[in-house]
C-alpha cells in the first residue's frame, strides 16, 4: 500500500472539510427546520473529527478530546433548545418550514 493511501492527518482534515461543506449546503438549501438542525449536527461532528485528529496526531495531553466533550454538551443543549422553540412556535401550524417563521420579522 502506497504511503499516499494510508490515512494520515492530512486525509482526516480533508474529510472533515468535505463533511463541513456538505453541512453548510444542507443548512442553506433546506427548508425543513429539523433538517437544518441535522445539518448543523453534521457540521459540529466534522469539527469534532478535526479536534480528535489533531489530538491523536499532535497532542499529548488529550486537549482535543476534552474539547470534543465540550462541543458535544453544547450541541446537545442547542438541539434541546431548538426543538423546544420549534415545538412552541409551530404549535398550530401544518408544517415546520422555515418560511412559516414570520413572527420574528417584527
Amino acid at each position: 500500500m502506497s504511503s499516499i493511501l494510508s490515512p494520515s492527518l492530512f486525509h482526516y482534515l480533508i474529510l472533515s472539510a468535505v463533511l463541513f461543506f456538505i453541512g453548510i449546503i444542507g443548512l442553506i438549501i433546506s427548508r425543513n427546520l429539523i433538517r437544518v438542525l441535522i445539518s448543523l449536527e453534521i457540521m459540529m461532528s466534522s469539527v469534532n473529527l478535526n479536534f480528535i485528529a489533531f489530538s491523536s496526531y499532535l497532542d499529548k495531553d488529550g486537549s482535543g478530546s476534552v474539547f470534543m466533550l465540550f462541543i458535544s454538551a453544547v450541541s446537545a443543549l442547542q438541539v434541546a433548545l431548538a426543538l423546544t422553540i420549534i415545538i412552541s412556535v409551530f404549535k398550530d401550524k401544518p408544517d415546520i418550514s422555515s418560511e412559516e417563521l414570520e413572527e420574528l420579522k417584527g
Binding site: V18, D61, S65, V66
Partner: protein, 184 residues
C-alpha cells in the same frame, strides 16, 4: 494491521460522505434522520480508528442515539410524513459566479506564490506526524479535564443548568397553557 487500518478508513470515509449527502438531499425527512443516524455512527468508527474509544462512545451515544430519537419524536409530533420536494435553490447563476470568482482568486494567489498546490505536496510527503498509541485514553482525558480545563467544565455545567431553565420557561409560555390558566 496497516492494511486493515487503511481499508477501514477509506470504506468509512466513502460511506460517510455518501450518507451525509443522502441526509442533506433525500426528500423524506424520516429517511434523512435515518441516514443522519448512520453517519453519526460512522463518525464514531473514525474516532475508533484515531485511537479515541471514549470519544467514539460519546459520539455514538449522544449524536447517534439521543439526537435521532429526539428528531424522530419531534417529527412525529408534527406528522409531516408527506414528501417534501421543496428546497431553497439559489439560482445557478449565483453558484457559477461564486465558482468563477473563487477560481480567479485561486489562480492569482497560486501564480503569486508560484505554487499551485499551496504547500499540499510537501504536506503529503511529510510523515513526521505519527498516530500515537494511547493519546486519548480515559485517564489522560480525565486528568486534563479536571486540572487544565476545570473552569470551563464548571462553566459548562452552569450553561446546561441555564438550558434546562430556558426549556422549562419555553414550555410554560405555550399559548394553550396560558389560555387554560386564564380560564381557571
Amino acid at each position: 494491521m496497516e492494511l486493515i487500518n487503511t481499508i477501514s478508513f477509506w470504506l468509512t470515509a466513502v460511506f460517510l460522505v455518501i450518507t451525509t449527502l443522502l441526509t442533506v438531499f433525500i426528500p423524506k425527512i424520516f429517511y434523512s434522520i435515518f441516514f443522519g443516524f448512520v453517519s453519526f455512527i460512522l463518525f464514531g468508527l473514525l474516532y475508533f480508528l484515531l485511537n479515541a474509544p471514549f470519544n467514539a462512545a460519546v459520539q455514538i451515544s449522544i449524536y447517534g442515539v439521543a439526537f435521532s430519537v429526539l428528531f424522530v419524536i419531534s417529527v412525529m409530533l408534527y406528522n409531516t410524513i408527506k414528501d417534501e420536494r421543496k428546497y431553497l435553490f439559489i439560482s445557478k447563476r449565483f453558484f457559477l459566479t461564486l465558482f468563477g470568482i473563487s477560481l480567479i482568486v485561486y489562480s492569482i494567489f497560486g501564480i503569486l506564490r508560484q505554487d499551485m498546490s499551496f504547500g499540499l505536496k510537501e504536506f503529503l510527503n511529510t510523515n513526521d506526524y505519527m498516530l500515537s498509541d494511547s493519546s486519548a485514553s480515559l485517564q489522560i482525558i480525565g486528568n486534563t479535564l479536571f486540572t487544565k480545563y476545570i473552569f470551563a467544565f464548571e462553566l459548562l455545567s452552569l450553561l446546561l443548568l441555564i438550558g434546562i431553565v430556558g426549556v422549562l420557561i419555553f414550555v410554560n409560555k405555550n399559548p394553550k397553557n396560558q389560555e387554560v390558566k386564564e380560564n381557571e
